[in-house]
C-alpha cells in the first residue's frame, strides 16, 4: 500500500476548489477589485452574514507528506463530520489501492473499485462460471474492465470466490440503508455465512485472500453480536495466515480485522485489551484512525498502567499518549513531553506540533488588525485567554526539543519555532530562525512553507504606510500563485494595510482598501475625502495608490471626490464653497454626475413621477449651484422680485430633500425604510453594507425659511398662498420628526396634527381663501380639504 496519501484540510479543500478555476487571466482584474470592491464574504454587516471562523491560516499540512493523512485528522479536528466523510473515502481508496498492489498491479484502480463496490453478486457468479468453463467469456457487462480481464485470463477462481463471499456478507454488515428501519441483523443467516466462510478459508491457498476471509468472518460474528465467536474465529484464522506485507507494511485488512477483534473485546468487558488494539490501529491504519480514537476507552490510572504493560515497546507506549493528547481539553505540551521522553522520533510529535501551532495561529495571527476579531471572540471564544502565555510555553518547548536533535524532523521544529516567534510578535527572532533554518530544509513542502511564513512575516512587520511598504505590498500582490494557494493572503494583506493607513492618519486610504466609493457615498466623511485628496497625481502615485484611485471602470476618481465634497457642502448650504470645488471638475464632465429638475413644483410629493424632459428645466449639480447663487443674488439685488426668487430657492431646496422628487441632487442613496425610523435630528441610519450608515437629507428647516421669506416678501396673494402651502408641507414633516408625533390609529386615516404644526394651513384658511390657489388646493390636497372643512 502506498503511504504517500493525500492530505485534506479545510484550507486545502478551499485551495483545491479555487484552483479548479483558471485564475491566471483574472488576476490583473482581481488585484484592484479585491481592494476596491467590498469583500462581501467578510462584509461587516453583522454576524448574520458571516459564517465560520474569520481569521487567517498559512499552515500547509502537505509538510507532513511522509506521514500518511495524519494532517487532516489533527489539524481540522473540529470538523468531525468532514473527517468522517474523508475517512470513508480514505477507506475506499486504501482498499482499492491494496487490491491493485497485491493482486493485479496492471488493473486500473477505477476498474478494481467497480468490481469491489459496484458489480452485483450474481454477475460475479457468472464470472466464476466463465472462469471455470474456460470457454465462456466474462459477462458482457464487465467487458473492458481491466481487473476482470486479469481475473479471467489468470483463472483467479480463489479471488473471485472470495469476492462473491464478501458480497454475500455485505448486506449483513453494511450500514443500515434506512436509518428509520430495523437495526437488528439476521443473525441465523450471518452464522450460516460464517460456516460457509470457514470452509472457504480452509481451502484457500493465498495468504492474502485468507486474511480477507478472516476479516469477513470476524466482522460477521462481531456484528451478529456473537462476540466470543468473533474472538474464537480470530484465534482460529490468524495462526493459519502468513501475514502478507504490502510495501513492507502489514495489510490494512489486518488492522481492519484487528478493529473487529477489539470491538468484540470491548463488548466482552475486556476494555484494556481492546484499547491496546485500538492504539495499534490508530498508529498504523489511517483510514480507521478516527474510529479507533473514538473507541479507545481507559477510565482510571490503574487501567492506564495495565494498558502500558501491554505495550511491547516505547513507540507503542508513546502512541497511547498521542491518543490521549487528542481528547478535548488535553494539555498538549504535557502529552508531547511524555511522547518525547519515550520516543523522541515518534511521528505523532510532528502532528501534535502542527495542531498546536494551528490553534495558536487562530488565536494570535493578525489579531491586532483582524476586523472580525469581535465576531471570533463572541462565536468561537478566540483568542483563548491563555494564548499569550501558551505561545511562549510552546515556543520554549519546541526550541528545547529540536535543539536537542532527537526529533524526527528537526528542521520542521526549527521552522515551527520561527512561526511561533512570529505569532508572539517577535519578528526579529522569527526572521533569524527563518534565515537559519532555510539551508536545512530538504523537502519542497517545507521550503514552500518557509517561503509562505516569510511573506507572512514581511506583512506582519510592516510598520508604517510608507511608499516603500506600499511597493513591497504591491510586489506581494503580484504573486498570483501564492494568493491562489493561500487565499487568506488576500484578507491578511488588505487588513494589515487598513490598519497601517488608519494608524498612520490616512483614513481615506484605509477606507478604500476595504470599501468602495459607493459605500462612502452612503454617508460621505469629510476626513476620508480630505485624506484621499492628498493622494498625488497619477505620475507620482505608488502602485497601490494607482489601484485605490480607480473606480470600477478603471477611471481616476479625483473628480468623484470633488463631487462628493461639493455635495457635503451643498447639504450645509455652503453654496459658494461647493461651487468652488465643483469648478475643479472639468465642466464638460458635470453632466456625468446627474441632471435634476428641483425647481419643478407640485402639490403632491411624488418620487417615482417622471422628471421633466425639457432640458431647460434640467440642471447638473454645478449648474444648480450657480443657479441658486444667482437667485440669492437677484433676491438681494431686486427686492421687488425677491419673493419669486426666494420661492424658487425654497422649492429647489425642498425638492432636493429626502421628501422631494430631486433628492438625488443632494444625496446619493435614499432608502424608503428611513421614513419609518426618522425622528428628531436623526439623519444617519444604519444600512447593510454602509460602514458609516446611510445619511438622508431630511432637514426641511432651510426650505421652510425660504418659503417664509417668500411669503413675507410677496405682494401677490397667490404667491403668498403658494409659499404658505409649501411652508405647511415643511411644518407637517417637522411634526413627523418631532417627539409630538402620534401615528394615526389606522394607516388610512390622516394624522391628527396639533395646531402648533398647522400654522400655515391656518394662515391659508384665514388669509387666502379668496385666491385661485386656494381653489386649486381644495381640489388637489386632501389633507387641506379635511383641515379647512371645505369641499
Amino acid at each position: 500500500m502506498s503511504h504517500s496519501g493525500k492530505f485534506y484540510i479545510a484550507g486545502k479543500r478551499l485551495i483545491k476548489a479555487l484552483s479548479g478555476m483558471n485564475l491566471r487571466f483574472l488576476v490583473p482584474l482581481l488585484l484592484p477589485l479585491f481592494l476596491i470592491l467590498p469583500q462581501t464574504a467578510r462584509n461587516d454587516c453583522g454576524p448574520g452574514s458571516l459564517y465560520g471562523f474569520q481569521g487567517y491560516s498559512f499552515l500547509n499540512a502537505e509538510v507532513l507528506r511522509t506521514t500518511p493523512r495524519i494532517g487532516e485528522f489533527f489539524l481540522d479536528f473540529e470538523s468531525m463530520a468532514v473527517l468522517e466523510t474523508g475517512n470513508r473515502q480514505d477507506q475506499v481508496v486504501d482498499n482499492v489501492t491494496e487490491w491493485t498492489l497485491k493482486v493485479c498491479e496492471n488493473a486500473l484502480p477505477e476498474d478494481v473499485a467497480t468490481v469491489i463496490y459496484q458489480v452485483p453478486v450474481d454477475i460475479m457468479r457468472q464470472l466464476r462460471t466463465a472462469i471455470q468453463s474456460r470457454t465462456i467469456p466474462p459477462p458482457s457487462i464487465l467487458s473492458g474492465n481491466t481487473f476482470v480481464n486479469f481475473l479471467y485470463r489468470n483463472k483467479c477462481e480463489e479471488t473471485v470466490d472470495y469476492l462473491i463471499f464478501a458480497k454475500e456478507c455485505e448486506p449483513h454488515v453494511g450500514p443500515v440503508s434506512d436509518p428509520w428501519g430495523e437495526t437488528s441483523r439476521n443473525v441465523p443467516a450471518m452464522l450460516e455465512l460464517i460456516e460457509a466462510g470457514k470452509k472457504d478459508f480452509r481451502k484457500t491457498k493465498s495468504d492474502y485472500i485468507k486474511l480477507r476471509y478472516a476479516y469477513q468472518l470476524v466482522r460477521l460474528a462481531h456484528y451478529a453480536g456473537e462476540f466470543d465467536l468473533a474472538l474464537e474465529l480470530y484465534d482460529f484464522c490468524l495462526p493459519k495466515i502468513d501475514q502478507p506485507l504490502i510495501n513492507d507494511q502489514k495489510s490494512l485488512i489486518y488492522y481492519w480485522l484487528l478493529g473487529h477483534k477489539a470491538g468484540a473485546l470491548l463488548k466482552t468487558g475486556k476494555r484494556i485489551e481492546a484499547s491496546y488494539l485500538y492504539s495499534k490501529i490508530f498508529q498504523h491504519c489511517p483510514s480507521r484512525r478516527q474510529s479507533a480514537f473514538k473507541s479507545f476507552s481507559i477510565k482510571s490510572d490503574e487501567e492506564w498502567q495495565e494498558l502500558i504493560l501491554l505495550c511491547r515497546n516505547k513507540t507503542e507506549e508513546a502512541t497511547l499518549y498521542a491518543l490521549r493528547a487528542h481528547n478535548a481539553g488535553s494539555k498538549a505540551i504535557e502529552e508531547m513531553q511524555r511522547i518525547y521522553d519515550l520516543d523522541p522520533s515518534h511521528p505523532f510529535l510532528d502532528i501534535l506540533l502542527l495542531r498546536e501551532i494551528k490553534s495558536l495561529e487562530r488565536d494570535l495571527l493578525g489579531l491586532e488588525f483582524n476586523d472580525k476579531k469581535g465576531y471570533n471572540r463572541r462565536n468561537y471564544g478566540v483568542p483563548r485567554a491563555f494564548a499569550g502565555d501558551y505561545v511562549i510555553s510552546m515556543h520554549d518547548f519546541v526550541h528545547d526539543l529540536w535543539s536537542a536533535g532527537k526529533v524526527q524532523n528537526p528542521a520542521l521544529w526549527h521552522l515551527a519555532e520561527g512561526y511561533l516567534d512570529l505569532l508572539s510578535g517577535d519578528f526579529y527572532a522569527a526572521e533569524k530562525n527563518f534565515r537559519e533554518v532555510g539551508p536545512k530544509l530538504n523537502s519542497e513542502e517545507l521550503k514552500e512553507q518557509l517561503e509562505v511564513f516569510q511573506v507572512v512575516l514581511t506583512i506582519s512587520a510592516f510598520e508604517k504606510p510608507t511608499s516603500e511598504v506600499e511597493e513591497e505590498a504591491y510586489d506581494i500582490w503580484k504573486r498570483e500563485e501564492l494568493f491562489r494557494e493561500y487565499p487568506d493572503f488576500s484578507d491578511f494583506l488588505r487588513d494589515k494595510l487598513v490598519q497601517l493607513y488608519r494608524d498612520g492618519g490616512r483614513p481615506g486610504k484605509a477606507f478604500l482598501a476595504r470599501h468602495t466609493l459607493d459605500d462612502l457615498r452612503m454617508n460621505p466623511q469629510e476626513d476620508i475625502l480630505n485624506d484621499l485628496q492628498k493622494v498625488p497625481g497619477e505620475s507620482e502615485r505608488t502602485p497601490i495608490e494607482r489601484l485605490l484611485f480607480r473606480d470600477k471602470e478603471g477611471r481616476d476618481i479625483r473628480s468623484e471626490l470633488f463631487d462628493m465634497e461639493a455635495v457635503l457642502l451643498f447639504q450645509e448650504h455652503q453654496l459658494e464653497a461647493a461651487l468652488r470645488l465643483y469648478k475643479k471638475i472639468p465642466r464638460p464632465s458635470w453632466d456625468a454626475f446627474g441632471k435634476f429638475d428641483p425647481f419643478r413644483g407640485s402639490f403632491v410629493d411624488c418620487l417615482s413621477c417622471a422628471h421633466s424632459k425639457d432640458t431647460a428645466d434640467l440642471y447638473n449639480r454645478g449648474e444648480l449651484l450657480e443657479e441658486l447663487l444667482d437667485l440669492e443674488y437677484k433676491a438681494r439685488a431686486e427686492p421687488v422680485n425677491s419673493a419669486v426668487y426666494y420661492y424658487r430657492i425654497g422649492t429647489a431646496l425642498y425638492n432636493m430633500t429626502y421628501f422631494g422628487h430631486s433628492w438625488m441632487a443632494m444625496d446619493y442613496f435614499r432608502s424608503g425604510s428611513s421614513w419609518s425610523r426618522m425622528g428628531g435630528d436623526q439623519e444617519v441610519f444604519s444600512y447593510p453594507g454602509a460602514p458609516y450608515g446611510n445619511q438622508e437629507n431630511m432637514n426641511v428647516s432651510r426650505p421652510l425659511y425660504y418659503f417664509e421669506k417668500a411669503r413675507l416678501a410677496a405682494n401677490d396673494p397667490e404667491l403668498q398662498a403658494r409659499a404658505a402651502f409649501m411652508a405647511a408641507k415643511c411644518e407637517l414633516i417637522l411634526y413627523y420628526q418631532s417627539k409630538d408625533f402620534r401615528p394615526p390609529p389606522a394607516p388610512n386615516l390622516a394624522p391628527d396634527v396639533p395646531p402648533a404644526y398647522r400654522n400655515h394651513f391656518q394662515m391659508i384658511v384665514d388669509y387666502y381663501r379668496d385666491t385661485e390657489f386656494y381653489e386649486q388646493l381644495i381640489e388637489e390636497c386632501l389633507y387641506f380639504r379635511l383641515f379647512s372643512g371645505d369641499e
Binding site: 428509520w180 430495523e182 477510565k299 490510572d301
Partner: protein, 358 residues
C-alpha cells in the same frame, strides 16, 4: 388531686402545642394532592437493575419515561434520522406504564420545511410503534412524550410535528406530552404553547453552566424564582421533572472545558489528587483519571449537586405556584448515581411534600 391536675394540664398543653406546630406547618405547605411518582430512564439499554427495581417498588412507582431514541440531523445539511436507539430488554411479569420519549434536537427543525416535518413525524410515529411491538402485555402505554427545547425560529416546525403526533395518538386513545422549560411558561405568549395534552415541566438546568460565577446550573431556586409566573394561566396541565443527578464542570484558567456527567462526587475525596478550594470547587493536584476522565494538574472542578433538602424547597416553591390538580412527579434519571445520592426515604419525603396533615 392538685398533682394529678397539673400533670393533666402539662399533657394537655403539650398536645395542644404539638397540634399548633402541626397546624402552622400545614398552613405553610401547599395544599395540593401528592403527585404520582415516576422516573426517567435515559440510557441506551433499558435494563433496570435489581436495586433500581427495589427503589421503584419502595416508592410505589410503576411509571417510567423511557427514552426511545434521539432525533438529529445526520450532519449540518443531512436528513433528520434517529440516533442511539434504545435496546430494550422488557421486564416480564411486571406491571408498568411506559411513556416512550423521543428527544429531538433543535437543529432538527432548522431550515426544515413543512413537508419534511410531516415526513419526520410519520417516521417517528412508525418507528416507536415498531419498537413497541414486542411489549409484554403487563406494560401499558397511555402517553408519548416529545422532548425538544424549541426556539423562536424552530417553534413552528416543532409544533407542526407535535400536532401530527398528537392527532395520530388521539386515534389510538393516547395522549401526548411535551417537555416545557420555565421560561416557556413565563413567556408563553412569546414562546407559544405546544399542541399537546400535557406538559412536563423540566425543573432543572436553569443557569448558564459556562458562566464562572454560576453556583449551581442544575437547580438554583433564586434563578427559578424569577420565572415563577404564569402557572395558573398556562393552558396545559403540568407534570414535573426534578433532577436527582450531579455533575462536575471542568474548568481551566476560568474557561469551561466541559461537563463531567454522570459524575460520582466521591471521586473528589482523594486528597492525594484533589484539593478542595471551597464548598463546591476542587483543584487537581496532579494529572490523573478522575471518574473516567483524564484531567490535568491545576484543572478545577465545580461540583454541582442536588440534595434532598433542595428538592424539598423546590417542591415548596412549585406547590405555591401550581394549580391544584393531579400530576406526575418524575425524577431524572434512574441510575446508580440516583441510588447513591438519594435514599428511598428522602425520595418519599419529596413525593409527599404536599401531603396535607389531617
Amino acid at each position: 388531686m392538685k398533682k394529678h391536675c397539673s400533670n393533666y394540664l402539662v399533657k394537655f398543653l403539650a398536645v395542644f402545642g404539638l397540634w399548633l406546630v402541626f397546624l402552622s406547618g400545614s398552613c405553610t405547605r401547599p395544599n395540593l394532592p401528592a403527585p404520582s411518582p415516576a422516573v426517567y430512564h435515559w440510557k441506551q439499554k433499558f435494563n433496570v437493575s435489581e436495586a433500581e427495581w427495589q427503589l421503584l417498588d419502595s416508592l410505589n412507582c410503576s411509571k417510567i419515561y423511557l427514552r426511545f431514541f434521539d432525533l438529529d440531523k445526520e450532519n449540518e445539511s443531512g436528513p433528520v434520522i434517529p440516533f442511539s436507539v434504545m435496546e430494550a430488554r422488557w421486564p416480564q411479569d411486571r406491571k408498568l406504564e411506559i411513556i416512550p420519549v423521543v428527544f429531538i434536537t433543535n437543529r432538527s427543525f432548522q431550515e426544515t420545511g413543512a413537508e419534511q416535518v410531516e415526513q419526520i413525524a410519520e417516521n417517528l410515529f412508525d418507528k416507536v410503534v415498531r419498537m413497541l411491538e414486542e411489549l409484554p402485555p403487563e406494560i401499558k402505554i397511555k402517553e408519548w412524550q416529545l422532548d425538544c427545547d424549541w426556539t423562536q425560529s424552530t417553534r413552528e416546525a416543532f409544533f407542526q410535528l407535535a400536532a401530527i403526533i398528537r392527532d395520530k395518538l388521539k386515534k389510538e386513545g393516547l395522549e401526548l406530552s411535551t417537555t416545557i422549560r420555565l421560561h416557556q411558561i413565563k413567556f408563553a405568549d412569546k414562546t407559544g404553547v405546544p399542541p399537546a395534552d400535557r406538559g412536563m415541566l423540566m425543573f432543572y438546568n436553569m443557569d448558564n453552566v459556562r458562566d464562572s460565577s454560576t453556583q449551581n446550573s442544575i437547580l438554583d431556586l433564586d434563578v427559578a424564582g424569577q420565572y415563577m409566573q404564569g402557572f395558573s394561566d398556562y393552558p396545559l396541565p403540568l407534570d414535573i421533572a426534578l433532577p436527582v443527578f450531579s455533575w462536575a464542570v471542568w474548568q481551566r484558567n476560568t474557561k469551561t472545558l466541559g461537563l463531567l456527567y454522570p459524575f460520582d462526587p466521591s471521586s473528589l475525596q482523594d486528597s492525594s489528587r484533589v484539593e478542595q478550594l471551597s464548598a463546591s470547587r476542587y483543584k487537581l493536584l496532579k494529572s490523573t483519571y478522575l471518574d473516567g476522565r483524564f484531567l490535568y494538574e491545576d484543572d478545577q472542578l465545580r461540583l454541582e449537586e442536588v440534595h434532598p433538602d433542595l428538592l424539598l424547597q423546590a417542591m415548596d416553591m412549585l406547590g405555591e405556584n401550581l394549580p391544584p390538580e393531579s400530576r406526575t412527579l418524575s425524577f431524572y434519571a434512574l441510575d446508580q448515581s440516583m441510588l447513591k445520592s438519594f435514599s428511598n426515604e428522602s425520595l418519599r419525603q419529596i413525593l409527599h411534600r404536599w401531603k396535607k396533615i389531617d
